[in-house]
Subunit: 447 residues, 2 copies
Amino acid sequence: MAPTITKSFISTDKIIEWLKFKNDNVIVMIEKIPFSKIDKWTIDKLSGSLHHESGKFFSIEGIRIYTNWGGIRSWEQPIINQPEIGILGIITKEFNGVLYFLMQAKIEPGNINYVQLSPTLQATKSNYTKVHNGKTPEYLDYFLSKNKNTIIDQLQSEQGARFLQKRNRNIIIKVDNEIEYNDNYCWMTLEQIKDLMRHNNIVNMDTRSVIACLNVNKRDHSPLNRYSKQNAELYSLSDLLSWIADQKIEFSLDVRRISLYKLKNWRITDNKIHHKEKKYFSVIATDVTIGNREVTHWTQPMVESAQDGLNAFVVKSINGVIHFIIQAKVEAGNLDIIELAPTVQCLTGNYRETGDGKLPFLNYVLNANTNQKVFDTLQSEEGGRFYREQNRNMIIIAEADFSLKLPSNYIWMTYNQIHTFIIFNNYINIQARSLLAAIKRCDEEIN
Amino acid sequence: MAPTITKSFISTDKIIEWLKFKNDNVIVMIEKIPFSKIDKWTIDKLSGSLHHESGKFFSIEGIRIYTNWGGIRSWEQPIINQPEIGILGIITKEFNGVLYFLMQAKIEPGNINYVQLSPTLQATKSNYTKVHNGKTPEYLDYFLSKNKNTIIDQLQSEQGARFLQKRNRNIIIKVDNEIEYNDNYCWMTLEQIKDLMRHNNIVNMDTRSVIACLNVNKRDHSPLNRYSKQNAELYSLSDLLSWIADQKIEFSLDVRRISLYKLKNWRITDNKIHHKEKKYFSVIATDVTIGNREVTHWTQPMVESAQDGLNAFVVKSINGVIHFIIQAKVEAGNLDIIELAPTVQCLTGNYRETGDGKLPFLNYVLNANTNQKVFDTLQSEEGGRFYREQNRNMIIIAEADFSLKLPSNYIWMTYNQIHTFIIFNNYINIQARSLLAAIKRCDEEIN
């Protein structure tokens, strides 16, 4: 008989044990299959998009991109189109004056380690409007209630290189009443969640996205919005808005949908849709079986990255306050041309090949000393769409002689300034948020 | 010989005289012509879009819209596509401690009265990057300078029912040095500009858009961003963000480009592209001659509205502070599904026909008493694209017994809260901004 882990208000080590236990005791089989064996999914000959026969879930479509940002001005690629806005929700509750988060041990077939720490609720709109006549997701009513006590409630974007304008509602609520929960859930503190992020591939992308919305410098987690410049800030909010306007005017992004069959440099075989040089990523078909007592089985397309990526912030104490190097980055799926990205973000390219000084700050990050590294772990991307994809997440403290002068599409922002932009739609991208989620404190120092 | 008007630091009456003088002394001829007579513009048989042979300026394209907002769920219409972000810029300068705005008497052929008060600079990107090898617009360098002293600098949207995701950079800068200007320009105060808005069709749309970005309740015109609820505010910023997330999730907007030739219910004749029931608006061809000494002549398409529209805010003092009824409105050209619009906005429909209680607050606005009307004038839309289009702009104070309960896509916001959203892209639409521009003071009272 499996050991029972008592897991309310347990130590972080016990949480890891619990997740490992869950992982050891779940049966997950994921197998790559040919597209001809995938059930209810087809590439429409006319529109050239790969979709489910119900028209629901998501589709894989072809796009042609024109931009004046970066070295490559025009390319074509497949992209995931999932227009529905889902809910990523966390329930919190105070026990003895400390806020606890109700987290879920959730299986996602694409995860390297299957079970990761997930928000209380992850639901697509089809889920929660019961289009599929499935059962209502647990805890959904808490988030749909009109009388909820909301801590944060924001629309946040996902990977612009992989998703066409996808967003989820990131929401944290606080309850006062007793909540029932089963062995797949556990109460933990914000600090514990952040401690778990110091381990590889334990805290899932959706959790990181939601947690990032909390400002750790403020007791009520609110952003500090100030128009005029504070003494310690290198730029005022007004300066930053002006810089963002500059970037949106300078850079163009024109995305047109085309048939997957017409994608230049991409090949469609029965096993995958892939770039002719095996670069970037492929779309594959998978057969998934999950369960021990209750068995669930389905087939679906997934995206498999050609290699791991790197997301890194370079930070520096300026005027006694930590500033981050933020990048204005154009990605194909962005809603509004640019989003604000980490200092270095090479999710899909092979950064070892392009690491000859072409990509600003890449070599600086890769050559950083151990004592410059505040944070350096591998984190998974969403296991429902991505097949075993992990990216290196790093926060690097710049050395004393690091120049304040940056290329024109980079700027210094403080943690509080970044949080001012987080609360408004489509400013801070998921890679930046994933890194911010790890931060426990950020004022004169960062940790 | 024409009378000379000395016009530095002159009274508002003298400014009106100066504009009238300019109007009387300019020669403008605008004539409707058949499309077959329009020079260098054609409807492309293949793409079905009406565009200039250079591919510049703007084009008229066909779109098909699907939405779950409002009574009509799917329709087709022509729309203006002008993807370049232009500059609407005002230069300000302090004289004896008072801020003065350098405003221009500018001819626009579509204006009812030709000459209206315009920002110091109105320039498209083609203008200012000199794609057409024309002369550099006056004062451009001030706005492109890296060392400008910026008061506001924001990307703001234009009419979502007429433009496909069009935005302009709205910018106000402050200079210290002497500025040369000719008889087409005049220094005036913010109060004077707002006084001029109390007259019909004097202050052009671009000026109203820029002026609206200034918060009259703050000496430095900055927004007041506060996450937690102030005593007087009905909702906190957090509540408002949550409501906006609700609206963006509830409402969908799917816009596809189609050929003008395929537009359902629209007819293309040699004289106009019009709705079969003559509703909404038409696209016409015009022949324009402007000038007295130097004569300029060109032909271009313009949009002619089927009737005047109405933009109105209903406001009410709640907890001793004026609150506005804001509407979440879906329009075809919106970048992000909804924008925040006035309480009543019926720009293109015939509101007298639909005024049978279907459109919330319309009858309330139309039946308001004189003493409820803070503001009631006719204001022009942009005279470079719209043919003699004016809309009634009204601000109405609700009576004491007016219910605080609103339909779910309406919410109460204070003036300062609206200003928090103004500084971020694509929240407050041009019709709302046009009304805000008229406001001189807004706290316990509004005027």
